[in-house]
Amino acid sequence: MNPRVNRRSMGGLIALLFAAIAGCVAGGAYDGGVDVGYGVDFYDAGGYEYGGWGPGYGVGPPRRGFDRGRADGRGAPHSAYRPASPSRSMPSLPGRSRGR
């Protein structure tokens, strides 16, 4: 076996392993590497579009005392979730201000 070939092979192996280790150190959590930084190091998928929003598209919280309407404890037809009891009033945001 040629000693130069051996040295070259070992050198290549070391370089390969060094690259692998460096990749693990530098990689972010979402890229499959070891997470050594802040765990929220990612971008979202994008594609946010808001066409179709407008009057009738309620997105905010209901105010305190909001009428639950036809609530019968069954939720939407075939709802996957367990709806709150009909006796429960619609929750809202806290009313107390800070320091009061």
Partner: protein
């Protein structure tokens, strides 16, 4: 006299020993680099002094991941009056946004790779008592781990997940407790919504993970609107993606309380952001709007008065 073959074997052994030694050194360097990078990332406590309160299911924090923290600081500082405390880390810059000295959110710098079809976004953090238990529930309900649980000195333990429809959120087990349940001040986060393809099944996911009470909200647009609640407080809503859902991505959207959505939306544009949904009247009688910062991260504006939180208001 040693044979030529024996000489080669000796050389090979010496090379092997050298290679192993080099590997050991490299491994040590990598381990130290890992520890150093993690150790430098010290986040401030969520609540000071520690509250001792815990509100499972409450949205307690938001982090912006952006390629331009400096630009984000200018924008949010001028728009909402936030000030910033910078934390330089081994892996990127992080800045804590403050409103009147209280932590309001975090800004994390991350370079955008060329050609990357992604967008900056605000990441929503939900309070949990035990991140490990939350992860088990999330996986059992069809969610996915995006960043496994890890601890940060003073902050607590957190992890990032995607719900079964792909909306990304985080959970946080705050070591200083959760912020108290008070009405958010103008300029603070006040509300969160999951904009999703199927609010019904997504509501079941969040209910099974966080123990929410779920209320169906009567709507006039024919789509499903659901409210998530704990401790008799509204925590978030789930709303159906309107229109062509195939081209739209489920996501969490956080809203800042503002005195005037119209004025704030105009200010967003003046500061280089965009108005994605013009202010419109919401179910509570105030205006809401959706805007994006100059880097494209969307967030909502919500008008809300103290009277809106009181029984029999309006």
């Amino acid at each position: 006299m040693p044979s030529r073959s024996a000489g080669h074997d000796g050389l090979l052994r010496r090379s092997s020993v050298g290679a192993l030694w080099s590997l050991g050194v490299l491994w040590g360097i990598a381990t130290m680099a890992t520890a150093a990078a993690a150790a430098t990332f010290v986040l401030p406590p969520l609540v000071q002094p520690a509250s001792g309160e815990h509100h499972e299911g409450k949205v307690i924090w938001a982090d912006l991941v952006t390629p331009d923290v400096a630009g984000a600081k200018r924008f949010y500082g001028q728009l909402l009056g936030w000030t910033f405390n910078d934390i330089h880390t081994g892996t990127g810059d992080y800045s804590v946004a403050l409103l009147d000295g209280r932590p309001a959110g975090g800004l994390f710098q991350r370079a955008m790779r060329p050609g990357e079809q992604r967008q900056p976004a605000w990441l929503t953090f939900i309070s949990v008592r035990d991140v490990g238990a939350a992860q088990r529930h999330i996986l059992a309900q069809g969610g996915k781990v995006l960043s496994p649980p890890r601890s940060y000195p003073d902050r607590g333990r957190q992890a990032v997940f995607a719900d079964p429809q792909g909306a990304v959120f985080a959970v946080l087990q705050s070591s200083s407790g959760d912020p108290e349940d008070v009405l958010a001040a103008p300029g603070e986060w006040i509300w969160s919504s999951v904009i999703t393809r199927d609010p019904d099944t997504d509501a079941a996911f969040y209910q099974n993970v966080f123990g929410y009470e779920v209320f169906e909200i009567p709507s006039t647009d024919g789509s499903t609107h659901v409210l998530l609640s704990t401790e008799d407080y509204a925590r978030a809503s789930l709303n159906a993606l309107p229109g062509d859902t195939a081209r739209r991505h489920p996501h969490w959207l956080n809203f800042v309380r503002v005195n005037s959505a119209t004025d704030t939306a105009a200010r967003v544009e003046a500061l280089g952001g965009r108005v994605l949904v013009k202010p419109f009247l919401d179910r509570h009688g105030g205006l809401v709007a959706v805007v994006a910062d100059p880097a494209g991260a969307p967030f909502g504006l919500l008008e809300w008065t103290e009277a809106d939180s009181k029984e029999g208001a309006k």
